[in-house]
Amino acid sequence: MFDSHQRETYRRMLRIRMFEEEGTRLYIAGKIPGAFHASIGQEAAIVGSCMALRDDDVMTGTHRSHGHPIGKGADLKALMAELMGKQTGVCRGRGGSMHLADSSVGIMGESAIVGGGIPLATGCALSAKIRKIDQISLCFFGDGAVNQGTFHESLNMASLWRLPVVYLCENNGYAITTSIALSHGQTSISRRADAYGIPGVEVCGQDVREVYRVTSEAVARARRGEGPTLIEAKTYRFDEHQVGLIVPGEPYRSPDEVEEYKLRRDPIRLYREALSSGGVGEAALTELESEVRAELAAAIRFGEESAFPTPDTLADFMYSTPLTPS
């Protein structure tokens, strides 16, 4: 009834949502420094595609970097400690909110340079091909990143060499305040796949099962050596681009549009309803929800109790072995 795949799917979506809700709270309370980009509203696009991967597959992500590692299965403790800038953080406090890499679960770096991770994922796939291992690269990026040259250059190479990579565009309709209509001469992203001679698929990014289905096909195709696929998951971010961001002047998106998504197209609510109507009992769902809530509480405790890196460690991790002072 509530099979392990469904359970894990729901768990990861909840993890992202609660991690970011708690993170937002902590950010506003001044316990998380820097900038905070929440993926709330985009959980289905992330989890649906990550669930189509094996643990040994790899991934690159973006500045909106919390959802991707959680979707791929990272442990919350080290992520939360990282957001707080602690030495126990997954990146030892050097990376922070925009750079939550976790190589233990195949996250090869999140790029806060828009479009910067697209060639990296492509290169990971090239390596898999050269080393003749059947590993897939999953490459997350936003609708805004599609306008970077790296999108074009990388998809061409992936097509040319039939690399095992899946390009997953989380099209949430906006790049900060700029809508697709104001930045893309042609507004369908999946339609661009044809320029490279690869399949392009559009999918509802609020429906985790659909995203999973479409990505699974792309992954299977890539694993068969048939090359890359471009997936456009139509999704929506519920919050502002960045927590606390003030947008002056006229709103760039209508409050109605935001409300519509929050009320009717919340991917977590949609999946919960689907699970319920599929026969999963309320008790099982709430049990899982409390589990994740408890996990979050533990992660926050871990982060808060951890120490900051000490000043003498500033240069640690700069080089493989420290340079002779110059």
Binding site: P33, G34, A35, E82, G85, K86, G89, C91, G93, R94, G95, G96, S97, M98, H99, S111, A112, I113, V114, G115, G116, G144, A145, N147, Q148, G149, A175, I176, T177, T178, L182, S183, H184, V247, P248, G249, Y252, F308, P309, T310, P311, T313, L314, A315, M318, S326
Partner: protein, 333 residues
């Protein structure tokens, strides 16, 4: 939208209190008002950066760009060689690398390669957003890299008055000018001239404080701790002359050497990384052209040669502070 100066009703010759960021915007507005060839381009600029400039100047002069730094920089250059005078806002300085090819291979070279047929009147604006826990991919201070490129001019002001006067001069200049803003200075306030023709010529340093014992040169965000250090030392009877180069290329070396001729001691401070930095260049120039005046070794204080870490517990450590500047100066006395 009317500007602060307009609202104030003040005329030429007057002054108005304004912060660094507002002074920069004011400079842009005044120049757009004066010359319709001046346009602005940047991401989300119709909403941020441009303030409410669209209302005032219309959408034909304020262009929100797709996230295509390399090409929109080139589009700006194309517009510059074909009759306009664009201000290209690259937003955070760490994104400049994406535009490096167009800035270097096109903007800086076109005039020379065409034997003067083509002129590239363009301003590249970007801000250095360090000290805010944005981590390595958002916190660069890359102005030293561009110093090595002939054909560019580089401005890196430390006060509201200077950013206004230099930005206006940059917009009126017929060569490509890179304007680096230090976001640490955005809130800094001063009384700036309202004269719409107030310009600071590119290439002139400013003696911010007179002194006789040590010459202290500081760049951009390093100016505040430098001035604080000078102030603190004056109480101990050490007289520090503080100089702001303001323009880095061309660099006003005469003002610096003149000061060293008087003090015999030179301390240099900046927040960029150490190797091949501007303070290194100044030290080299003085070690060549002002050697005879030097009584003591030149001291450089820069950011550690480490990328900017996320954790505030680390980031706070890597830039020169008042205390480190005071200590460096005392070593020389």
């Amino acid at each position: 939208m009317s500007t602060a100066v307009e609202k104030s009703g003040l005329g030429a010759g007057d002054h108005i209190r304004m912060n660094y960021l507002d002074a920069l915007v004011e400079a842009q507005v005044e120049e757009m008002e004066r010359d319709e060839r001046v346009i602005m381009m940047g991401e989300d600029i119709a909403i941020y950066g441009g303030g409410k400039l669209v209302e005032r100047f219309g959408p034909d002069r304020i262009w929100s760009m797709p996230i295509s730094e390399s090409s929109f920089t080139g589009v700006g250059i194309g517009a510059a060689i074909n009759g306009l005078r664009p201000i290209v806002d690259l937003n955070i300085a760490s994104f400049m690398y994406l535009a490096a090819d167009q800035i270097i291979n096109q903007a800086s070279k076109l005039r020379y390669m065409t034997g003067g047929q083509i002129s590239v009147p363009i301003v590249f604006r970007c801000c250095m957003y360090y000290g805010a826990s944005l981590a390595a991919q958002h916190s660069d201070r890359p102005y030293p890299m561009f110093m090595n490129i002939p054909g560019l001019k580089i401005v890196c002001p430390a006060s509201p008055t200077d950013i206004k006067g230099l930005m206006k001069a940059a917009i009126r200049d017929d060569d490509p000018v890179l304007v680096f803003e230090d976001t640490k200075l955005w809130p800094l306030k001063a009384d700036i001239p309202t004269d719409p023709d107030f310009l600071i010529p590119l290439g002139s340093a400013l003696v911010k404080r007179q002194g006789t014992d040590v010459t202290l040169v500081a760049i951009a965000g390093a100016m505040r701790p430098a001035l604080d250090a000078a102030q603190a030392l004056s109480k101990e009877g050490i007289s520090v002359e503080v100089i702001d180069p303001r323009t880095l290329k061309p660099l006003d070396t005469a003002t610096i050497i003149e000061s060293v001729a008087k003090t015999g001691r030179l301390v240099l401070v900046e927040n960029a990384h150490r190797m091949c930095s501007v303070t290194g260049e100044i030290a080299a120039i003085v070690a060549e052209e002002g050697f005879e005046y030097l009584k003591r070794p030149i001291q450089r204080l820069t950011a550690s040669d480490v990328h900017v870490p996320f954790s505030p517990a680390l980031e706070g450590q890597m830039f020169p502070r008042k205390a480190t500047i005071v200590a460096a100066i005392k070593k020389l006395i």
